[in-house]
């Protein structure tokens, strides 16, 4: 029985007597060598009890999102980069063979179309043998993929779609909802604006799954905190003329205290631009924005947005931990990450951690590891994956756009006003109605 070139027999001298000094010396050699080898093959803090065994010998992770349309900047190709970064960092931490095989990241453009999203997901799970799909902006497309994930019994971790239906009526055992949803946005912004800016709301929303869900969430939050939604109107989606003036004029006539704009991306930019143009602020109509990404602020102009209070799961400049990720991301992509980029990294990381804990990428085993899991990372604070509906509970932030004179550098858009505790930012389980 040889151990590092020495053997137990060497503890006995030529005459077969047991030599204590030799034993101690041998033990020390063995200990030093073991320590040296341990450092060469790092296993990190919590080494898995058993080595990971991948079902197909390698791990394939898919990212499906919008790579050419309106949401291409806020997630898009850079979200794929974020997932790749997570894989590289994971290997750097746990070694190349951390998951017992190569890790591959594949990606597709769903063009914000539910049918394309659905067939791409099918292809990823079946043909490419993907174990998980990340991201998927556009709520209708996300719901389509959640259905495929449920049928195929493979994981889907949604990040950029906001609809609460993913953890509600359309929930299933294999779908998780990371980062944010319409409830979180309404719980933060709806409450703050109703309490601080005005109680009479006029809501305008893009007329599709996301917008309708936003309207519902904001209406109930506003009402809950003592406000009143006078009226709400859907705008065509996609809006071909880019014109929202008739709704803004209507706002001018209804004279609410707050105009709640639930549009996203390019539509939101047009709404805000035209809100400024019509000088509704001077008429005492304040603007509340449902969903705001850093890329929207770039398009509208920081100073045109200064003072706007909004809810977000994450701000890149919020603390050192977030900032160090943002620095790495900037070096790689040339931009500061939106919260969607950061969330893609974080979700991919937590998924790979779950595989390590489970010792396999088998969907049921990984789901078991994820359910109820409590964690913190640079993106998620006070996180807990709710087992009942797979909503990833965590603290959200109330942020405010600051004027460019206060910005320390390019993309330094917002300051954090306060934290919305995970409990408050998460839809109560009783309202979720998830039967998975």
């Amino acid at each position: 029985m040889s151990f590092y070139g020495t053997s137990v027999s060497e503890a006995f001298d030529e005459k077969g007597r047991f030599d204590m000094k030799r034993v101690i010396a041998l033990a020390m050699v063995a200990a030093v060598m073991a320590a040296a080898c341990g450092a060469a093959a790092p296993s990190g803090g919590g080494a898995p009890a058993t080595a990971v065994k991948l079902t197909s010998g390698k791990l394939v992770m898919g990212v499906i999102n919008d790579q050419s349309g309106v949401y291409a900047d806020l997630s898009g190709k850079n979200a794929v980069e974020a997932v790749k970064m997570a894989v590289e960092d994971f290997k750097a931490k746990y070694g190349d063979n951390a998951l017992g095989g190569p890790i591959e990241v594949i990606t597709a453009d769903h063009q914000n179309k539910p049918d394309v999203a659905s067939s791409k997901a099918q292809e990823f799970y079946e043909r490419n043998n993907a174990s998980v799909i990340f991201d998927v902006p556009t709520s209708s497309a996300a719901l389509a993929i959640a259905k495929v994930a449920g049928d195929q019994k493979r994981l889907y971790i949604n990040i950029t779609a906001a609809t609460t239906d993913l953890t509600g009526a359309s929930c299933n055992k294999y779908t998780f909802h990371y980062a944010y949803d319409t409830y979180m946005l309404a719980a933060g912004t709806g409450k703050w604006v109703t309490e601080n800016l005005g109680k009479q709301w006029y809501i305008i929303y893009p007329n599709y799954a996301f917008g309708q869900d936003m309207e519902k969430s904001f209406r109930s939050a506003v009402t809950k905190f003592g406000g009143n939604v006078i009226q709400s109107d859907g705008s065509p989606f996609p809006n071909q003329t880019g014109d929202f003036s008739q709704l803004l004029l209507k706002a001018g006539q209804l004279k609410p205290q707050v105009l709640g704009a639930m549009q996203a991306g390019g539509d939101l930019v047009n709404v805000v631009k035209q809100y400024n143009e019509f000088k509704l602020k001077d008429q005492g109509i304040k603007l509340a924005i449902g969903l705001l990404f850093d890329t929207d602020i770039t398009a509208i102009g920081q100073d045109n947005m200064a003072g706007v209070v909004y809810t977000t799961p994450w701000v890149w400049s919020m603390d050192d931990q977030a900032k160090s990720f943002a620095d790495k991301f900037l070096k790689r992509t040339g931009i500061r990450p939106t919260f969607a980029h950061a969330a893609n990294y974080s979700a991919a990381w937590q998924y790979m951690e779950a595989i390590r804990r489970a010792g396999t990428d088998d969907a049921d085993a990984v789901v078991k590891q994820l359910e109820g899991y409590k964690f913190n990372d640079f993106f998620i604070r006070n996180g807990q994956i709710r087992a009942e509906d797979h909503w990833v509970m965590h603290d959200a932030l109330l942020a405010q756009v600051k004027p460019s004179s206060e910005a320390k550098e390019k993309f330094d858009y917002s300051k954090v006003l306060g934290t919305i505790p995970a409990e408050t930012a998460s839809r109560p389980l009783a309202d979720a109605n998830c039967k998975k």
Partner: protein, 291 residues
């Protein structure tokens, strides 16, 4: 719904109409003389807006000079495109021209996307026009009134050019009876490059006008162009007066429809197009017989 409110909404319609008019005017002229359906018109509109943005951002040139410089720059680009590419598809099946300009659209849009991203760039309203005036019920931005007035003036100027100058005569003749004009010994081809450049300069001008109130983004023209085609069909393919009149008419109708129900705004345009195609296939102002 009171009348004052409706009439203000009418102004919104006229603003949209102003864009339709400028865009479809250029389309009509180009189609008339070149026989090419310029699908790249929306991309050119976007280039106009970006030209204004770049002039401001890179050189510090504001809105007023941009109103002249941006269309000029884009027109120069048009000259190159016409000489190098478009020239080759004249006389072929119109499908080739369509494919070429559609390809150009994708190329231009993606090139801009690569450089500027998808989400858009800010452009301020010129300070002289950033006030708003009271129109009875609500305040209305002066800039929008300017857009309406300016584009009406522009259309009038183009009308004058076409009705009262020699170039206009050639364009008119070539638009209405192309072969006959050539048969009479008029060298239409001499004017082709200029006409194309002028047509897309109008689109670029619309882009500059749009920059202060629309998101300046690579795809800003891609959806508008579809509506513009509908306008051209309603006005009558190749009819210059028709393009302008239909532009304003449809802008106004769509806006008033939207007051009733926001979803109607897009529906009205296409419903109207369907009706016109059924009842008057040549368009409201088209030639007497369908061509």
């Amino acid at each position: 719904m009171d009348l004052g409110y409706l009439s203000v909404q009418l102004f919104n319609g006229l603003v949209n109409g102003a864009f339709y008019a400028l865009l479809s005017l250029g389309l009509a002229i180009i189609f008339g003389v070149l026989g090419v359906v310029n699908f790249a018109h929306g991309a050119v509109y976007m280039l106009g807006a970006f030209a204004a943005y770049l002039l401001l951002q890179q050189v510090g040139i504001g809105f007023w000079p941009a109103l002249l410089l941006a269309p000029l720059g884009v027109a120069l680009l048009g000259v190159i495109v016409e000489r190098l590419l478009l020239r080759r598809v004249y006389g072929l099946d119109p499908l080739y021209g369509f494919l070429l300009t559609y390809g150009l659209t994708l190329f231009i849009q993606d090139a801009m996307r690569l450089r500027f991203g998808i989400q858009g760039q800010p452009y301020p309203t010129p300070t002289e026009l950033s006030a708003s005036v009271s129109l009875g019920v609500v305040g209305y931005p002066v800039y929008r009134l300017f857009v309406i007035a300016f584009s009406i003036a522009m259309c009038a100027a183009v009308w004058f050019l076409i009705e009262r100058t020699r170039l206009g005569m050639v364009v008119r003749a070539a638009t209405e009876r192309g072969e006959l004009t050539r048969a009479l010994g008029i060298d239409v081809d001499r004017w082709v490059t200029a006409v194309f450049a002028f047509g897309i300069a109008l689109a670029a001008l619309a882009g500059v006008l749009a920059a202060p109130m629309r998101n300046v983004a690579p795809l800003m023209g891609s959806e508008l162009i579809i509506l513009t085609f509908a306008v051209v069909v309603i006005g009558g393919m190749g009819s210059i007066v028709g393009a302008v009149a239909a532009g304003f008419l449809i802008g106004a109708l769509a806006s008033l429809g939207a007051v009733w129900s926001p979803a109607l705004e897009n529906v009205i345009v296409f419903a109207l197009m369907a009706v016109v195609l059924l009842v008057r296939p040549a368009g409201l102002f088209g030639a007497r017989e369908a061509t």
